[in-house]
Amino acid sequence: MMNTQGRPTRPAEAEAATPVATFTGNRGLQIEEALIFEIGRPDVSGVDLPPAPKAASRLGKHARRAPLGLPGLTEPEAVRHYVRLSRQNYAIDLGLYPLGSCTMKHNPRLNEAMVRLAGFADIHPLQPLSTVKGAVQLMQELSHWLLTMTGMAAVALSPKAGAHGELCGMMAIKAALAARGESRSIVLVPESAHGTNPATAAQLGYKVVPVPAREDGTVDPAAVKALLSPDVAAIMLTNPNTCGLFERDIVEIAEAVHAAGAFFYGDGANFNAIVGKVRPGDLGVDAMHINLHKTFSTPHGGGGPGSGPVVLSKALAPFAPLPFIRLDAGEPVLVETEEGLAEAETPFGRLTAFHGQMGMYVRALAYMLAHGADGLRQASEDAVLSANYVKARLSDLFNAPYGGRPCMHEVLFDDSSLEGTGVSTLDFAKAMIDEGYHPMTMYFPLVVHGAMLIEPTESESLASLDLFIATLRDLAMAAKAGDTERFRQAPRLAPRRRLDETRAARSPRLSWKDPLPAAEAAE
């Protein structure tokens, strides 16, 4: 109907939004984008370079003989390609990102600015140490903050991500046992643990023995004691655990583990719940990695880079890998090789070239300085408060299997409330996408059926939490009311509908293959 009265137009109420087929396949601002191999050409470049000076080649017989087949794009084409692709992603900057145990909190832009200072971005890991005093100072400052927060004796900064940190901590334990002349073969891992824990232990040749959870979702010290033996090297325990609970018997567990001559590896994935509230060192932890990309907000970047410094107890400190920072008369010194070792220092080796994820150290330290002791504690308290608020407001419609106790920074629901509705956890998660939310962590931890693990973080306003809660309530009521279409067909409004993962795995296509020339294809 034509607008004849100068009032804002609005669609006729009866017109339901139906999918519109367009000529281009685009839908308004949602623009389809081809692969660089379809739009680029090998003879096109978005970088202007002068011709190479004529010089005698020193490549010998090694000069490349065949073309590579690498497409190029000019700058405007490239910018458009990547900007269009970016718009097919969900992001923290777009909305609440409730992935449990992933800590998707706000990424302050100040940190991005700091890491791009030439004095941090444009320095080489092997330029003379006399020219990088500020970098070593920064590593020392970060170490100080981490050690103060955790109450531990030493820190190995170099691990590149959480799982790499696990490897680091478990290697330190293996080295400490070897130094005692022992080679124990078993590592205890609770069933609720993240998959990296058993994978790490197995990579070091350990046999993984699962520790069953008790009724309330925590580890029973009696179960641990029953499994302890002179052959147990360590227990790997996440605290707060992946059910969102603080392991309340942790001190008793740690004492039992130590009494058996074993070590206590703490998975620090959920450290965001307890910074400034309790120090892992006070609980008996011997080694713990800290995901700087979770608790200290270095951006996840679509799957990394991460950074996983490992704090170590007095017993493990001597085994910290190279490189490490030592204070010599108050001055931080970067020790890179065996040659520089003091007597008590017996590193188990080296985990990576150079010195670790400096770019993440810069961002994390900027985050810590900005928060301060008060802000860090507030962040943890707000994260825990927000998770408990979500739990309180949803517990009439969702079943929290361990709901009898306060949760930490994430709340775990199972799928029993969906029973009989024909809607699975997966369907529920996909329907959240249509509502503009990234789904929660689903089907993890494995100890409850159809798990939904929600971590709101401290970055959400009350209004944001309330809308999220209202959305989940609406979905839950729709499921109970039998509106299965809303779930089975979901997502309907995302850049793609459900993808065929079985097909992807059955006949893997992992790289672009140039189409055959028309003549060959016809044959």
Binding site: L49, L70, A202
Partner: protein, 447 residues
Amino acid sequence: MRYHPLTDHDRAHMRATIGVGAVDQLFSDVPRDKLLSGLLDLPTTKSELEVERLMGRMAARNVAAGSVPFFVGAGAYRHHVPASVDHLIQRSEFLTSYTPYQPEIAQGTLQVLFEFQSQVGRLTGMEVANAGMYDGSTGCGEAVLMAHRLTRRNKAVLSGTLHPQYRAVVETLGRMAGDTVEALPPDPEATEDILARIDGQTACVVVQSPSVYGHLIDLAPIAEKAHAVGALLVAVVTEVVALGAIEPPGAQGADIVVGEGQSLGNPLGFGGPYVGLFATREKFIRQLPGRLCGETVDADGKRGFVLTLSTREQHIRRDKATSNICTSSGLCALAFSIHATLLGEAGLTRLAAINHASAAATADALAAVPGVKVLNDTFFNEFTVRLPGDAAAIVEKLAAKGIIAGVPMSRLEPGRPELADLLLVAATETTTDDDRAAFAAALAEVL
């Protein structure tokens, strides 16, 4: 503070909804005597301005590579990165998204990973590549473990061409997993006979070309010998720009290629974060570590991408996984891929030629300094010189004159007097004729 949207009023309302009086009631499972009552012994919150001031002071204590004549390489290289790369990787939807576990709302990241895998495959001359490793050195360690799985043998032979810190990573992993690692001595003059070290117990032989000393190594005969005894060749490339100029390892028979991808798209950043390249043959994909992105279709038949073959990975297989890797290096892979797309084949080829010419001119300038000998017959953009004295001391003297001259080999291989007079020198498109002249003149002065 500025990052926390909740107000005290909100908090009170939330506590009331939950039914607690004080927030510490939510921490009731923490043992009473362990719950901290006061603040940690650390400074309190700071404004942006204050943080900038503190960080700026630390940054100012470092000498930025771009501010001086600069010749350091050895596994990380200073290149010009187009401004659009850093702009694009800071798009919120790339920077602040998680691993693409929900593919319907992560096609941006997934398509980039598919393109990245394809680019890495073509650069290395291999059939498939994964979505990236933490960096080159950890990728090297994973390649050795993969070779052990594939051959069911557990001995790795490391060439003396390999970066010493890569060697240390492999040795550490090997020692901890109970595997055998045989490392040949450093090979500064490219004279080692590695063929004699490959036998029927060998799972893989690891060779770097260009070597850490800059030499270009003929991989084909090594691959041939390895294959003859059922072993695999792991080829390592720490300067990926070289692949614009030299024969790719895949064309020389490599079974696994690992590379450091920092040179494209990523700043030096004091050593990280970088991105590892990891490529292999199609028949080995089920033993690959790390993430893989694959093509598929959605419910409407539209092309789309997903993470695939995840039955290799720790979140499914737990203690039977091919590796424990979870977070990888997504944003650095994005930067790599954008830079590679901007260059294209024509740009990369020219960039490589400029790098080579720059290094050749630098080698000629240094060779003209009395007492300095260039060890390399072949090189790409980095070479080794023998100095008439301790290289580390000479580098310090040059640093005092405002020239960052390269990596004294003793920094990477301490305790080997025969290497103490060796200096690794790299030059790239960022090196100017003035830089070279200043380096040669200053070197002549301090010798």
